[in-house]
Symmetry: C2
Subunit: 209 residues, 2 copies
DNA sequence: AATTTTCTTGACCGGTTGGTCAGCCTGTGA
DNA sequence: TCACAGGCTGACCAACCGGTCAAGAAAATT
């Protein structure tokens, strides 16, 4: 017997179904890519008829764009952990922890982002050229300040950022490969060890330890 | 006026067309993923009729599998640079250089590999479980030997390997993002600086410098 | 020169895709 | 209570997909 569904308000309905669809879409896009994903598959995963998806999201591209944008927001929030830190040990350490946590909690989102960038960023090119470029420039200045203050070795700030992104996102994007080599999904202890390893190697690599 | 095509031998024809198709396929699979790629697109890029593709490769999956396998071979060859090195500075240094060179020369291949692993490795799962696992186990022992000999800090060998893969392949898989932030494709000097940055940070990060 | 084998290709096919739409259902405000 | 706007969906469609095939062209073999 199914539980009696309490009547929902209009705004609730919209909110609920949009997030339901977005969650399903994130998963399907991560598993199959944009071209491999089908609206029918997303609909089935969301438990809704396909036509209902098109009521909330006009086209497949619109839906995909929303998924990518949502991920970008989460991704940018982690950046705040880097600011207002006295030095690289705290700032970069916190950033690594935040990014590793995202790789763990939102592996599908990370994959969709990777997929989008890998294929030339047809949807979020403007974000790369504006928001991401500005954010990067700001962190480069921050790192240069730390270097000038003698708090870390004179590494190239851009390539340090690339390494931070690469090392942390790798645990989401290549999670399947890691799990295979690990003999199964990473446990809590595995994730802790991974985070510690990345932090130790990078912080020592930039001469901050 | 077109140049008179010298008559080709059978083996030449087969060889020539197969590599022509494989090159086109690598590019298209990298740009669109397996699901987004179409045989028609690959055929157009190779300058052949679609039916001709199916003469050399029975199915789209067969063609895709060949592309992934070819990349895996190149990828494994770079591993040899790590062996027969007296210590981590030479071994890991050479490995980073080899992997960076692959990221530069075969960015499409790297993307197809990333795409394959990201989507659960449906085609090359057996390679991960056999060849890659054995290779990894061998390098873990190599690194453990270097640690025991006091040639580097006691880092977790697996996570060091993940960082090597992540940092180097990032320049291929996320090349578009890097080029955007860089204001254009990386020049020779940019690639040299990138390689040096990765080498310096990682080698210092594992206490080998 | 004749014959066999390999290679090439336009035309075609069943199945699937993203997207549409008319009509129905259901909260909401008067 | 009633009218209306927002939410829902089965049925449908043109376009496109991977793959097939028969018939012809070209090379190898006899």
């Amino acid at each position: 017997m199914t539980e009696a569904p309490r009547p929902l308000r209009r705004t609730e309905i919209r909110q609920q179904n949009e997030t339901l669809i977005l969650q399903a879409a994130e998963k399907v896009f991560a598993e199959a890519g944009f071209g491999g994903a089908t609206m029918q598959l997303i609909a089935d995963m969301a438990g809704l008829p396909k036509a209902n998806l098109h009521y909330y999201f006009a086209t497949k591209e619109d839906l995909y764009r929303r998924v990518v944008q949502d991920i970008f927001e989460i991704w940018l929030q982690a950046a705040e952990s880097m600011d207002q830190a006295p030095g690289p040990v705290e700032g970069i350490g916190a950033y690594i922890e935040a990014k590793m946590e995202i790789s763990r909690r939102h592996p599908d989102g990370s994959k969709v982002w990777a997929y989008e960038v890998m294929h030339g960023a047809p949807v979020i090119q403007d974000y790369l050229e504006t928001t991401l470029r500005e954010w990067t420039a700001g962190r480069v200045r921050l790192i240069e300040g730390w270097i000038a203050a003698g708090k870390m070795a004179p590494v190239d700030p851009e390539h340090l950022l690339y390494m931070l992104w690469a090392a942390t996102q790798h645990y989401a994007d290549f999670g399947h490969q890691i799990a295979t080599l690990n003999g199964g999904p990473l446990t809590d202890a595995d994730w802790q060890r991974a985070t510690d390893s990345v932090k130790t190697m990078i912080l020592r690599g930039i001469g901050a330890l």
